[in-house]
């Protein structure tokens, strides 16, 4: 009888990642995951985790506190939820709730998001190089959200702090937020992010000026 190859469980994958991180290994990669929820959650060491093939399920990289986590593939809901430090990068589309409750670190998506991006975010940075088919920055109190594509939902409902940058089409704003002029520092930050992420939406550097800043009115 041929030996059956059994896919590791989420618990086994996370335990392996944790043991690499605790042994102060610099980087570790996983061939593929198949819709597992909770992959690479709660890592608090600066280990680089690369997942070569997705898709990931819900809560990918949630509660990250220092790791640099990369997924080549799509992910489900709540990528980087309640993360406080480090980086989560998804090269693919994600579902609802990207970076909800983010308090620090950087979450980026090269692809589209379904909605609820950065709800109740307190700090850190979210970058979406794609469209958002729902709301952005609801009840946000701090941090920065950059969206290179269109927003097809509300922006900054009940926002009390933080800043949202949108380059594509966006809806009419609620009374509690308004568009403010970009400062030289903002443009510098946008250029830096472009330098790193090579925004797909921008063919010429001039296009970076398309970003509008939305802040509390």
């Amino acid at each position: 009888m041929a030996e059956e190859k059994v896919a590791p469980t989420t618990k086994e994958i996370n335990r392996a990642l944790r043991s690499y991180a605790e042994a102060n290994k610099k980087s570790v990669s996983i061939d593929r995951i198949k819709n597992n929820n909770h992959i690479a959650v709660g890592l608090d060491k600066p280990v680089k985790v690369t997942i070569e093939r997705g898709p990931a399920g819900d809560f990918f990289g949630a509660l990250n506190a220092g790791a640099n986590i990369i997924l080549n593939g799509n992910a489900g809901r709540f990528v980087g939820s309640t993360m406080s430090a480090g980086e989560v990068r998804v090269n693919g589309d994600v579902a609802d709730g990207l970076g909800v409750y983010l308090s620090g670190g950087l979450v980026s998506v090269k692809g589209d998001c379904s909605g609820a991006v950065g709800s109740h975010m307190k700090g850190g940075v979210i970058i979406v190089d794609g469209d958002v088919k729902g709301d952005v920055g609801e009840s946000m109190v701090g941090g920065e959200i950059y969206i290179t594509g269109d927003v097809d939902g509300t922006i900054g409902t009940d926002l009390r702090g933080g800043r949202i940058f949108v380059a594509g089409k966006m809806p009419e704003l609620h009374g509690n937020v308004k568009v403010k002029p970009l400062g030289p520092k903002d443009l510098g930050a946008i250029r830096d992010h472009h330098e790193r992420f090579r925004f797909r939406k921008f063919q010429t550097p001039d296009a970076l000026n398309d970003f509008r800043l939305i802040e509390k009115a």
Binding site: T10, K11, N14, R15, R18, N37, H38, V41, G42, D44, D58, F59, A62, L63, N64, A65, R77, F78, S81, T82, M83, S84, G97, V100, Y101, S103, G104, A116, S119, H120, K122, G123, S139, V141, G142, D158, R160, G161
Partner: protein, 412 residues
């Protein structure tokens, strides 16, 4: 003018002055059905000498977590948040509970250095809150804790008003200084009942299966909620009754939103029975307005495994019920974040007082257990209780005194 009229007038005058409901401390003032409507009775077994009676209970034992929480006494400190109470009071709660071999269910906001210190030095246990606002609930906070409690209870919307959002509070809550901490009505990453299991599993994975995961509910559809929580795999369910202490809330919440604790335990127990949860080691914790060892014993006899102290614990660390918790100017330095007032609470002395209070409560529980003829307080059952009123018997399924049987609606 009698007290009732005086309070009504005070509330209406506050309403008419600025068009906003009066903010007040959150203990229900009107009488409600409670543990006083029950009495303890022995069964026919021989009474035990009180020295032999066990009082300990474990949360998460023989389940998924490597480090269950072992409580020496069937009591713990209910969740009260920084901002509602001060730094010194929180540290004293941690100290007193550690000395008693108990645990603190933490409130909103990151664990404070002082409470971590008191816990570490005295081998205490802190259970972090996984809150709907995720205030300070990052991995650094969770890593220190001995358990995590997913908060599914309903609280008034505004937790921290801007006027008390000082640098220290803002830091603990992870929000900018002077900003209101609003509590979302639900977890933004928990959309349906099925998602509760996702959160239980998320926290197990993030905590590497080391600590127990609890979930807390307030009133309403208790059977369904408890059943869902058990099926989601939690190690313990926490129920909070309407009589729970809050530093600031309004009249509708304090007097009208929620259920009395004794009415929440029976549907919870039904969910435990239907899912065989007790045999699987799931525990039931209850809290909200517990006043003494008798209340604790009666809750245990109704089926709880441990009982949380709120107002009684606050008295333990210095509260003298001035009734001004909402002002943030507690004269005893408990319900305040003003450093000059906080200084009135000596952590060591107040922690020891709380320890004394919990020791006295334990004695009371043991005395009742001995009277009821039990070898361990966990052996108490509804057979050790009688209801004094028809209503209490109908609510609790405890035998009515005199009738000495279950009311017909409880006979299946």
């Amino acid at each position: 003018m009698d007290q009732e009229k005086e309070e009504l007038l005070k509330r209406l005058e506050a309403d008419l002055a600025d068009g906003k409901p009066m903010i007040r401390p959150g203990i229900a003032r009107r009488p409600m059905v409670g543990f006083n409507d029950l009495v303890v009775v022995p069964t026919r077994a021989m009474a035990q000498g009180s020295k032999e009676i066990g009082t300990d209970v474990s949360i998460g034992l023989d389940r998924y977590s490597e480090h269950p929480i072992h409580l020496e006494v069937p009591m713990y400190i209910a969740d009260m948040s920084y901002g509602e109470i001060g730094r010194t009071a929180k540290a004293a709660l941690a100290l007193g509970s550690a000395l008693a071999g108990s645990m603190v269910l933490c409130g909103h906001g990151a664990l404070l250095a002082e409470e971590k210190g008191a816990t570490d030095e005295n081998d205490g246990r802190l259970v972090a809150k996984w809150s709907k606002g995720r205030f300070g609930d990052d991995m650094a906070n969770l890593s220190f804790s001995h358990g995590v409690c997913i908060d599914m209870s309903m609280d008034p919307g505004i937790l921290i008003p801007p006027d008390i959002s000082t640098k220290e509070v803002a830091e603990a809550y992870g929000i900018p200084k002077g900003m209101t901490a609003n509590l979302p009505v639900s977890h933004l990453d928990l959309k349906g009942e099925d998602d509760l299991k996702l959160h239980v599993d998320l926290l197990r994975e993030a905590m590497d299966y080391k600590v127990p995961i609890l979930v807390k509910f307030s009133g309403g559809e208790v059977y369904e909620k408890v059943r869902a929580a058990i099926e989601a795999g939690v190690d313990a369910v926490v129920l909070e009754g309407i009589q729970a202490w809050r530093a600031r809330t309004d009249d509708v919440h304090a007097e009208h939103a929620g259920e009395p604790l004794i009415g929440m335990i029976p549907p919870a127990i039904r969910a435990f029975i239907d899912t065989k949860a007790k045999a699987k080691g799931v525990k039931l914790l209850v809290q909200g307005g517990i006043k003494g060892g008798a209340d604790v014993f009666k809750a245990l006899a109704m089926g709880a495994d441990a009982v949380g102290l709120d107002i009684a614990a606050l008295v333990g660390v210095g509260c003298r019920m001035a009734g001004v918790c909402n002002s943030g100017k507690c004269p005893q330095g408990v319900a305040t974040i003003d450093p000059r007032l906080e200084a009135k609470v000596s952590v060591k002395e107040s922690g020891e007082h709380l320890y004394n209070l919990m020791t006295a409560f334990t004695d009371e529980i043991v005395h009742l257990a001995g009277y009821a003829g039990l070898a361990h307080v966990s052996a108490a059952t509804a057979k050790n209780l009688r209801a004094l009123t028809y209503d209490a018997a109908a609510i609790t399924g405890v035998r009515l005194v005199g009738f000495d049987r279950l009311l017909p609606m409880w006979v299946h």
